[in-house]
Amino acid sequence: MAAAAETVVSQAEPEVLLAGHGITKRFGSVVANDDVSVELRPGRILALLGENGAGKSTLVNVLFGLHRPDAGQVVIADENVELSSPHDAIARGVGMVHQHFQLVPPMSVVRNIVLGAEPRKLGMIDVAQARRRVMELADRFGLHVDPDAAVEDLPVGAQQRVEILKALYRDARVLIADEPTAVLTPQETDHLLGVLRGLTDQGVGIVFITHKLREVMAAADDIVVLREGRVVGTTTPAQTSEAALAELMVGRAVDLHGDRFESGATGVGSAVSTAAAPSDEEPTAEAGERPVVLDIAGLCTDDDRGQRAVDELSLAVSAGEIVGVAGVEGNGQRELVEAITGLRHATAGTVSISDRDASGARPRQVTVIGVGHIPEDRAKHGLIGSYSVADNSVLNRYFRRPFAAGGMLRRDRIDSHARDVVATFDVRTPDVDSPADSLSGGNKQKLIVGREFSDDIDLLIAAQPTRGIDIGAIEFIWRRIRERRDEGTAVLLVSAELDEVLALSDRVAVMYEGRIVATVDPRTATREEIGLLMAGAAPGAASPAADG
């Protein structure tokens, strides 16, 4: 702003790396950003906190030149700028680490990093120079990654380091990280936060978008909370608490943590629970006496590349208990769920559900036995995006009465069922004829949960049930899962979010390299113990109540 002119000559560190002053952005009648101001200074991490739809992405898209603001001023390095495209922002030293990595999977790390700004020799890529510069950057910022590996062969955390290197290779002084931890495991998250801190030590400023409170408290220097397109709070971790931030974000009191320590099944904060389950001081003490619903013995299956992914795994889930599977992603959790639900061929072992042999059963047979499945990837496996909400609400049962008779679908029954689901599960949609694609992530997930819950099920398999959705919806889904458990359904929960596993589970099974390495009691085990087990430390080292 006014100060820009005075400092522009000095080559020294700018006072403000990146700022938006009074940014307003409308999409049609929707005001996505309403007079939003943020400021990032060198060496600091600015956390933008807010639920999905709060306007975080719009704001950074404006700062990165993807959207032009309707009002307000973008400032980069103390200079007022007009950005007409991301290239303008990149040229001024602003880099973006996208949530969906912008990497070319079969190409090598070096090639991905230099793509678009290649060192050349006679039109050929100067391989040696490219490699040298990438290695220098990697060393300087402590971002270790094999320069010759194909990106598709790298774990997610390493791919993210490539994304960061890509921005640094373009001399980024500002890094905008859009939900960078959404795809990471707890260990990778900790590593990333360390890397970001290392970057700020060298004067880089970071805008960190998230809806995870713990990370904000752990990593941020400054916090800006957005709600419904407005800044509702500007603070620092020292001045606030997780609870206060959650309240700012949602606009009312929320309680997601701590519940398992108080009463296993309260589920949601007292302030919001509309149907606070009064029961269950000790919901799981007698789990052993309840009938076993899911019984897996010696199960083996391979991943898509033909490698053994689940290795002689045995696990039992009884009626009325939630068993949480914790583990670093890629340790066979996906394949386990797919093998149980009939989506993947098991190479050995048995699965029995409600005392019926379900080994090798097809997905429909598994459904008919009485299994609900919330799949990991809601867009790919949970819903058919172009189908209406109504059709999606009966995907698991459209072929049966009352939804079909004589090979014909009965629209009236399907529609009225869908309206029930929408009302009961608080799915925000204009009507049941809208395509499922038009719903937000949280509402899609509520639709899936509604569909899977509206039948009589003995077993619920919930894979990453709250991935990438806002706190309000998480709260709702957690409460529903707990209610089901209290009604006697057996629940197998698979989640990459350790917090989620700890908050919901009655028992936690830790999965490592295709096996259950330990089963621990979430009320006594610590995050550190479980973290060690997830990293493959021997069960004895952490002394949990191992039985797996």
Partner: protein, 352 residues
Amino acid sequence: MTLPATDTNGGTPGRRVGLGPSGWSPQRMWSVAGAVVLVALVWGFYAWDGAQTTAVLGGTVRAATLLVLGAMCGMIGERSGIVNIGIEGQFLMSAFTAFTVASMSGSLFLGVVAGVSTGLAMGWMLAAMSVGLRTDQIIAGTVLNIAALGLTSFFYDRGRSLGQPKYQSIELGPLADLPVVGTTLFNRPPLTYLALVLVVVLHVLLLRSVWGMRTTAIGEHPGAAATVGIDVIRLRYWNVTLAGGLAGLGGAYLALESVGTFTRAMSGGRGFLALAVMIFGRRTPLGAYAAALFFGFTTALQGQFQLNDTFDIPAQFVGMLPFVVTIIVVAAAGLFGRMRDPAALGQPYEVR
């Protein structure tokens, strides 16, 4: 025969495109082993019947030249994310204009220029439809095929002849005196040499140049390419258009060097066979040339069988040989190492 077989793995686009030096992959070892066996076989046959072996090998190279030009046209498109099933039409139309211009002007060179220009124009049409208008790419290619067949049939002038000899062989000095390879590779007409040079040059460009890397990027993940400032639409336009020039050269080769005249529908499905060659060659020029030689060999062998009356069965069955082999080979290739297509193949790209 040995040149391409030793290096089919120069870099496979669907798989790793690494930079660093690597040891011998199993794939490379198999390639080398195959090449050694092949050389031994050729040597043996040459010792047994020199004239026939040379004839078959000559026919092999002749058939392979057209196939590899089409395959290179296809692979540039596919690496950029655009399926081109219009190669057949590009061949046919270019053969027609090359022949007509050469016949009217009396210059084979002008004929080649006309053929290549026609290929470029048809490439541009494909780009306009599938990149610019985001038409379904299969339909866009089919449009080219149908248009070429219709137009060339309509304007086909039965009485017209080339009025001069077709392109003749040029001996490459002492190289042409070598046994086997001398007559097969170093005593060929000019467009064959040009095609060989293009195979090598394009191979290096695709796997090592900035252009090649960006081309791979827009075919695998156009969104990522766009975020680093690559103009996806523009590059796709250029690539598909220029690739059409290669098919145009193929058409000119067909009319002015291979056959020496134009006949109705003379491309005879080889534009489609070129796509099989491209896939079998893993979308690399050297790989495609090896595959083209293989398919060319079956064609030449079949011709020699018919000439010699080797088998006492109707000629039509012998004539099926290349196609039967195609089916077997493509099926076998599918069973063994499956290759992944470029991830964005067939998907129109839209600027946000």
